[in-house]
Structures are given as C-alpha cells and as structure tokens.
Symmetry: C2
Subunit: 184 residues, 2 copies
Amino acid sequence: MSNLVESFVSREEIFDGRILKVVKDTVTLPNGEMATREMCLHVGGVCVLPLLDDGRVIMEHQYRYPHGRIFFEIPAGKLNYKGEDPLSAGMRELREETGAVAERYTFLGELASTPALIDEKIYMYLAEGITFGERRLDEDEFLDVELVPLSELYEMVMRGEIKDAKTQLAILKTANLRRDLLNL
Amino acid sequence: MSNLVESFVSREEIFDGRILKVVKDTVTLPNGEMATREMCLHVGGVCVLPLLDDGRVIMEHQYRYPHGRIFFEIPAGKLNYKGEDPLSAGMRELREETGAVAERYTFLGELASTPALIDEKIYMYLAEGITFGERRLDEDEFLDVELVPLSELYEMVMRGEIKDAKTQLAILKTANLRRDLLNL
C-alpha cells in the first residue's frame, strides 16, 4: 500500500507550549503533488479502568476546559516523557488521582485519539485487586471521584451518555472481558 | 460540582490554520489561582460504520501523517462547518470515500477524542441497507477500501490490532447491537 504514503519535505514550527507542540509540515502526496499537514505533537498518555472486587469502577468527574463542561472519565494522565513505560505511568496516575493501588494490570490495547490531527497514543489498562492509599493530585488538578458499577457504565456508554473516547473504549473492552458483571 | 469549574479570563490566538486553530487561554482555577490552558479548536467530525447485509463492513486503509503510517479505519470526515447536521455529513463522507449509500442510519453516540486538548466531537453512526454508487475523493485524499466481516473486526479490536479510537468504538458498539453476527 505504498500508494498511500505521504513523504516529509519540510517543517514550520508553529508553537511549542507546555503540553502542545504544533507544526505545519509540507509533504509530497502519493500523486506527486505537494500539500501541507498541520498537526499537534504530544508525549502520549495512559488511562486505567480500576475495577473493584465488587464490580464497581473508580470514576472521576473532571472539568475539561476545551469543552467547557465536566466530563465523566476513568483515571488518566500524560506520560512524563516520550517513551516512558506506560504501565508505570498508569500506576502513578491511578495512585495520584484516586489513592488506589492495584495488584493486577491487564493491557487493553492502545488508541490513537484523533490520528489526522495529533500523534497522541493512549495506552489502556484494566486494574484489579484494588486497595486504597492516599491521593496526591497535581497542584492544578481538580477532580471528584465516584464508584459506579461496571454494568451501569456499560449501559451509559451504549446510551451515549459518556463522551470521552478512552473511557467509552475501556468500559466496552472490560465489559467484553467480564460479561459476568453485566446485567444482560 | 461547581468546585471543579475553570473560568475564562483571556485568550491568546496562537495559530489559525486550514484545519487547526490553536489558542492559549488564561483561566481561573477552582481554588482562585490562575493557570493557562493550551488547546486546539476544531469544527467536529463524523464517522460511519457501513455494515453490509452479509455482515461485512466497508473499511479503509488511510495514511495518517501524524503517526507516519497507514491506519485501518471506518469512513469518516470533518464537518463542513460548525453546527452542520452530522448525519448529512456522514452520508456525504460515506458516499465520497466509498461510493456507498445507506437506507438506514442508527446513531451510536458521540465521542470527545481527547477532551483535555481539543474541543473535537465526533458523531458516530451505523449505516445499513448499503448499495453502491460512485466514489468521489477529495483531491488530497488517498485511501484503499476493503470489506471485512464484523466478527473479524471485533476480534481485531479486542486483540488491540486496530488503533483508531472512533473505529474501535463504532465496532464495539455495533458488535453489542449485532451479537448475532459475532462468532462467540
């Protein structure tokens, strides 16, 4: 499928911010024409679905400024640097945001959030065997935690009531692995 | 949960490109401190899972420049303008990219691709009763089409072999609606 590949020609650096880097590349298209590709570069992220032994999930309410409203999400965060081990990052984010520590992690795959615009990859994990320690949020981080049964979250996703892509995906994947926890 | 809300103070326009607009806002945090929020503004998008009567799905191989490789995705595209009817946009993108026309559309919900960074919302549809007309790609758009059984796509998602978030989600949601098509 080399008939689909676009080749790098040159790069214009647009913005180098705290979390976003924006570039505009000139590329050669498969038909030989030139085009520009605007994109964001991102360090990548991790998300964790923490499943308690009783079938409830640790969920978070968090304000998402670009959407101007509170989202209902699983714990998640950025990698500290490109190439950081995503499982270590997931354990850290889970602990910081919820105080939870897990005995067992299952990799649920990765997702490309919006591959036409940003190189962000998010690694997804299911965490089980949860015990609780102490929360320690980043200083500019504010969120509320709530415990919700997986069966209820599954219904919410299927009714379209949860918007965040990584949260929807991790819930549906976990639901497929743990059909015993659903009320079907 | 007003204890979570961040309030707009001022905006710095960073970049106003062809598909991306980037801004840096100053906000007031729930604790009264100031912070900056870098984000991308996007018109929004739509994706369509076209399910043939024989249980196969129209899939696309498309080069995604930010990731530097070919992705395996369902048909999708940007809205033409903010507030465009997403179903009309979905019908257009499906027709342009694959030549397919559908008799029935089922709304599968929306997704926020990466809500900390971008205000993009993607509307998801299941399309059924497919017949084929003529493809008409955008002039800088290159993609190959392949027909793959839903049951196989479901297994690929569960094994982590499909990366695109909207594609994974639309496949898992459709699989939950059409368990009769899976080999479980």
